[in-house]
């Protein structure tokens, strides 16, 4: 029982990180119908920028703000310069461009920061809470509460943006029908840029949280996350922020049970098995009803 509780809590923590990553994928999918395979290396790049800030004497929080802002800028720039020419063309073109970006950004990070992994100090303690004498919840620390909380707040903020603001309305309209939205006076290009900028900022947050969780970074430290984040996003139907978060949490739980009761080495395979099963059984995601598309 104690193992189960510990695994469940750990699953929620890992899952919320997958969720953050899935959120970033969903934001881009919603606005441009592109799966951004470069998300991982973009997040690695912003996390390295944050580390540079910390190295220069800045606090974690300053570094976080810098990471988010550089994510915004990077996302907007990439959409404007690299993605815009392939938007609306064959889907494969966009996929290959994002794969190219993935390799290119990773290469640039390695050139600038070196290929060695280095330590990353999380903002809060990672020592698990002691529930009672002799029973410490290894997976539940102050840092993991920060991780889960940051993801939940981000999700709520995004839902509020999409549901309750004119800007969100225009972004959704652009996502559902660019031509029509344009005729109604929506600045569609601007909305797409904003979608990428927001996504990259959320990705930057995911990078910071993961770096804190695993306590190290390297140019490729986000690579496995691409698979997990993608599976989480597909679980949630690729279209809804809530779906992404629920998908991330479910995946985190499932994988943590696999890790605990089976074997660590099965994680990647388990994620892909879940992906295949979801695509076979419910290709539209777990929430493939109109209700799931509300947010």
């Amino acid at each position: 029982m104690e193992q189960f509780i510990s695994l469940t809590l750990g699953g929620v923590v890992n899952g919320s990180v997958y969720a953050a990553f899935a959120l970033a994928l969903v934001l881009i999918w919603r606005s441009t119908r592109i799966v951004n395979f470069a998300q991982g290396s973009m997040a690695a790049a912003t996390t390295f920028i944050a580390v540079a800030v910390i190295d220069a004497g800045g606090s974690y929080w300053l570094a976080l703000v810098v990471a988010l802002l550089s994510g915004l800028v990077m996302g907007a720039l990439i959409e404007r310069v690299v993605i815009r020419p392939v938007e609306g063309g064959p889907e494969l073109n966009a996929v290959i461009v994002t794969l190219g970006l993935f390799v290119a950004i990773q290469g640039i990070v390695a050139l600038v920061a070196g290929v060695d992994e280095r330590a990353f100090v999380p903002p809060f303690s990672t020592v698990g809470y002691e529930v009672r004498e002799g029973f410490t919840l290894l997976s539940l620390s102050r840092n993991s509460i920060w991780t889960v909380g940051a993801v939940l707040v981000t999700m709520l903020a995004l839902i509020a943006l999409f549901r309750f603001t004119r800007l969100g309305l225009a972004m959704r309209a652009s996502a559902f029908g660019q031509e029509v939205a344009r005729l109604l006076g929506v600045r569609v290009g601007r909305m797409l840029t904003l979608g990428w900028a927001l996504a990259a900022a959320v990705g930057a947050l995911a990078g910071m949280l993961i770096a804190g969780d695993v306590s190290f970074i390297g140019p490729t430290f986000m690579d496995t996350l691409i698979v997990f984040g993608f599976v989480a996003a597909v679980l949630g139907g690729l279209d809804s922020p809530i779906g992404a978060v629920v998908g991330g949490l479910l995946l985190g739980l499932a994988l943590n049970y696999v890790r605990g009761y089976l074997d660590d080495s099965l994680l990647g395979m388990a994620a892909l098995v879940i992906l295949v099963v979801v695509l076979l059984v419910r290709p539209g995601g777990l929430f493939s009803t109109t209700a799931a598309r509300r947010a």
Partner: protein, 295 residues
């Protein structure tokens, strides 16, 4: 002029229709194929102008020129007395022009109310950044948008569907919602592309009444197949055949024009047969509104 249900949306007097759309000598060629050849068309303020012709006559092309989707190879477009040089779809609403699409073109993942709110987009006062950051003003803005959208839905008797998703509604209702989305922008010129397609006789009749009512506050350019509707609601009609204008005039003049009948021979629409029974039904009396529109 408007009766009870329409009073709610009667615009302030300064928005009286004073706008004239003049399209002069418009020619369009698609890769060597001439779609339009020196077509001129003027929509007078406050008038309903019909654009008819057999299939392939160039009606839709002309319509798309009017809203900037197709760029003419030669010719001039003047709106409110000033020439439009490079009309782009995104500028339409700012110029006070709204259009509906041949299909319906509603955003599938957004509620009816949200769809209509996008149409009112250009009337929102808060700018891009304040919508993103200054929640209080954006809130009020949102409230205004919502009210306007509800008013437009009320005018089309579609309030009951506000929270529904377009996909779950019958086609005629979807068309009414699409019309509400165009009207909510309070345009000075409304471009209607085949508004009667897929409607029953009764619904078409109501649509005719509505268009007459609208002409009190805006000009209307109507592309339509259903000859009886066109004859009933239009002040003036332009007939196209094979990309050339063959007649312009009042419904009576068009009906009496032998060239028009000839153009339609072989087509399954017979002008004379379709129009005699509507000889003098164009109502000068106050319309009864859309209260009885079928739900």
């Amino acid at each position: 002029m408007a009766e009870a249900p329409l009073d709610r949306t009667t615009p302030p007097p300064d928005r009286a229709p004073t706008a004239r759309l003049e399209m002069t000598d418009i020619s369009v060629a698609f890769g060597g194929v001439t779609a339009l050849e020196a077509v001129s068309l003027t929509v007078e303020p406050g008038q309903v102008h019909g654009l008819i012709g057999p299939n392939g006559a160039g009606k839709t092309t002309m319509f798309n020129v009017a809203c900037g989707l197709v760029r003419p190879s030669s010719g001039r477009i003047a709106w409110k007395g000033s020439e439009l040089r490079r009309l782009r779809p995104a500028q339409l609403t700012r110029l006070g022009i709204a259009r509906t699409l041949q299909g319906v073109g509603l955003f599938a993942g957004m509620t009816v109310l949200e769809n209509v709110m996008v149409g009112a987009h250009r009337h929102a006062r808060s700018g891009f950044l304040s919508a993103l950051f200054a929640i209080p003003t954006a809130d009020k803005d949102e409230e205004r948008l919502r009210e306007r959208a509800m008013t437009a839905l009320a005018e089309l008797d579609a309030t009951a569907y506000a929270e529904r998703y377009p996909g779950s509604l019958p086609y005629p209702v979807q068309k009414r919602v699409a019309l509400a989305r165009a009207l909510v922008a309070e345009p000075d010129l409304l471009l209607l592309d085949e508004p009667a397609s897929g409607l029953s006789e009764d619904e078409m009749h109501e649509l005719g009444e509505l268009i007459r009512t609208l002409s009190a506050r805006m000009s209307v350019l109507l592309v339509e197949h259903h000859m009886d509707l066109v004859m009933r609601v239009c002040d003036r009609i332009t007939v196209l055949d094979s990309g050339k204008p063959i007649a312009v005039g009042t419904p009576e003049e068009i009906r009496a024009n032998p060239a028009v009948t000839e153009a339609y021979l072989g087509d399954d629409v017979d002008v004379a047969a379709h129009t005699t029974e509507f000889g003098s039904t164009r109502s000068e009396t106050a319309p009864t509104g859309t209260e009885g529109a079928s739900a």
